[in-house]
């Protein structure tokens, strides 16, 4: 009896190299689109969930000691800033349980920010450039508005949820082999449009507070002119990659909201 083995039939169990490149491009693009949309959704969902945490809990996250390393400036200026903040809080109708703690640093850093639990940090470097109490009020009012609308916790929970999504995708398959820092940057990108909306809301509140306290918005425009000068020196290109809206747009949008008479007035000196 004779036996024989048939030669292996090609193309039944495997098709070598056929359309793999096209398949990769199609799947890769679908993945990026789907993950981008999910990321946006998670950022927004996180922003909805974040403020459910009572403000007191948020305040407990950051103890005063966290700001101990700041190079604290003189007490008189700090007191004046705190008094201004208290007046602004009233003008902004801040809820009574939202206590704002002002930290004043004498460092030359040109910056000011609000963080968790109503803590606000103002650097002397920025105060020096502003030159008027009205502009300082506009700055503080902008930061206080972030506290009032819980922007910090919204941003943090949004980014956290989006990052969890990327990690989950990473655990799910070999896509984890891709650089994780790139993905966390993608979720940051998804949160940028929300951040810009928050800035616009804080701007509108700051404008309202300055008008209530001084009767004109001179300080508001003085603030943005100064910020425009600073930003002009290190502009970073693409609008969609910025956390803050363009300064010229911010000024134009404020101008559209008020009458011509309200746009300027006598400014109170600082310091």
């Amino acid at each position: 009896m004779r036996y024989s083995n048939q030669p292996e039939r090609e193309g039944i169990n495997a098709q070598a190299g056929k359309g793999e490149g096209r398949e990769f491009l199609l799947l890769g693009a679908s993945f990026l689109v789907a993950a981008g949309l999910l990321s946006l959704l998670f950022v927004r969902a996180g922003a909805l969930l974040g403020p459910l945490m009572p403000f007191a809990w948020e305040a407990a996250l950051v103890p005063d000691a966290a700001f101990a390393s700041l190079d604290t400036g003189d007490e008189r200026t700090r007191q004046r800033l705190q008094t201004l903040s208290n007046d602004i809080a009233k003008a902004l109708d801040m809820p009574p349980n939202m206590a704002v703690t002002l930290h004043y640093s004498k460092a030359d850093t040109v910056n000011a920010f609000a963080t968790f639990g109503g803590h606000m940090v103002v650097f002397d470097g920025l105060l020096k450039k502003l030159g008027s109490e009205d502009a300082v009020t506009a700055l503080l009012a902008h930061e206080l508005a972030h506290v009032k609308h819980r922007h910090v916790i919204k941003g943090a929970t949004g980014t956290l949820l989006a990052n969890l999504l990327w990690s989950a995708l990473g655990w799910g398959g070999d896509v984890a082999a891709l650089d994780v820092s790139g993905f966390s940057q993608l979720s940051m990108l998804s949160s940028l449009s929300m951040t810009r909306d928050m800035e616009r809301q804080a701007d509108a509140e700051a404008l309202r507070a300055v008008l209530t306290l001084y009767g004109h918005a001179g300080g508001y425009f003085a603030l943005f002119e100064t910020l425009g000068d600073i930003a002009g020196r290190d502009a970073d290109g693409l609008d969609m990659l910025q956390t803050h809206p363009d300064v010229a747009d911010r000024i134009a949008s404020a101008q559209a909201q008020i009458s011509i008479e309200q746009r300027s007035g006598a400014l109170t000196a600082w310091p």
């Binding site: 030669p7 495997a14 098709q15 793999e20 990769f24 082999a177």
Partner: protein
């Protein structure tokens, strides 16, 4: 460093690894298939059977032959398969990988049988094991000689 530049740098390394995987993986696969076809033709005189008892086969001496191969995936295949695991569907990138491994294992099995003077292997079985990012395929069977 600007956000955009950082973004590009973060993705440049994995994307270049994917490209290297795609080019090198494809070249390696084509070469491997060419070698497999040549070896299959060369060892066509050693016959393989799934049956345990083949008529006209001499009683086996009781020993075993095996062919084992460990084959790794390239970065491109790994990412492509990862994407498939999200969307579902046929992972064609792994089908060629396993096809090559099975055929290579069979060639090695036949080579082992040939070296013993056997011209047939009966009761052939395959087993597959995953080792890290690579797979091992083992083909084993019983070498016999045909009674003419």
């Amino acid at each position: 460093m600007s956000f955009l530049l950082q973004f590009i740098l973060n993705f440049a390394i994995p994307l270049s690894l994917i490209l290297v995987g795609f080019i090198c993986g494809r070249i390696a696969e084509q070469r491997h298939y060419a070698r497999i076809r040549r070896d299959e033709a060369e060892l066509a005189h050693v016959l393989t059977f799934t049956e345990r008892a083949v008529p006209n086969a001499a009683a086996p001496a009781g020993n075993m032959v095996l062919g084992a191969v460990v084959i790794g995936q390239d970065y491109f295949k790994a990412i492509l398969a990862g994407l498939r695991q999200i969307f579902g569907g046929n992972i064609r990138a792994y089908e060629t990988l396993l096809d090559r491994a099975r055929r290579e294992a069979t060639i090695r099995l036949k080579r082992a049988a040939d070296a013993q003077g056997a011209n047939m292997v009966t009761n052939i079985k395959f087993s597959t094991t995953r080792i890290g990012l690579a797979i091992e395929v083992v083909a084993y069977g019983t070498p016999c000689a045909m009674i003419e």
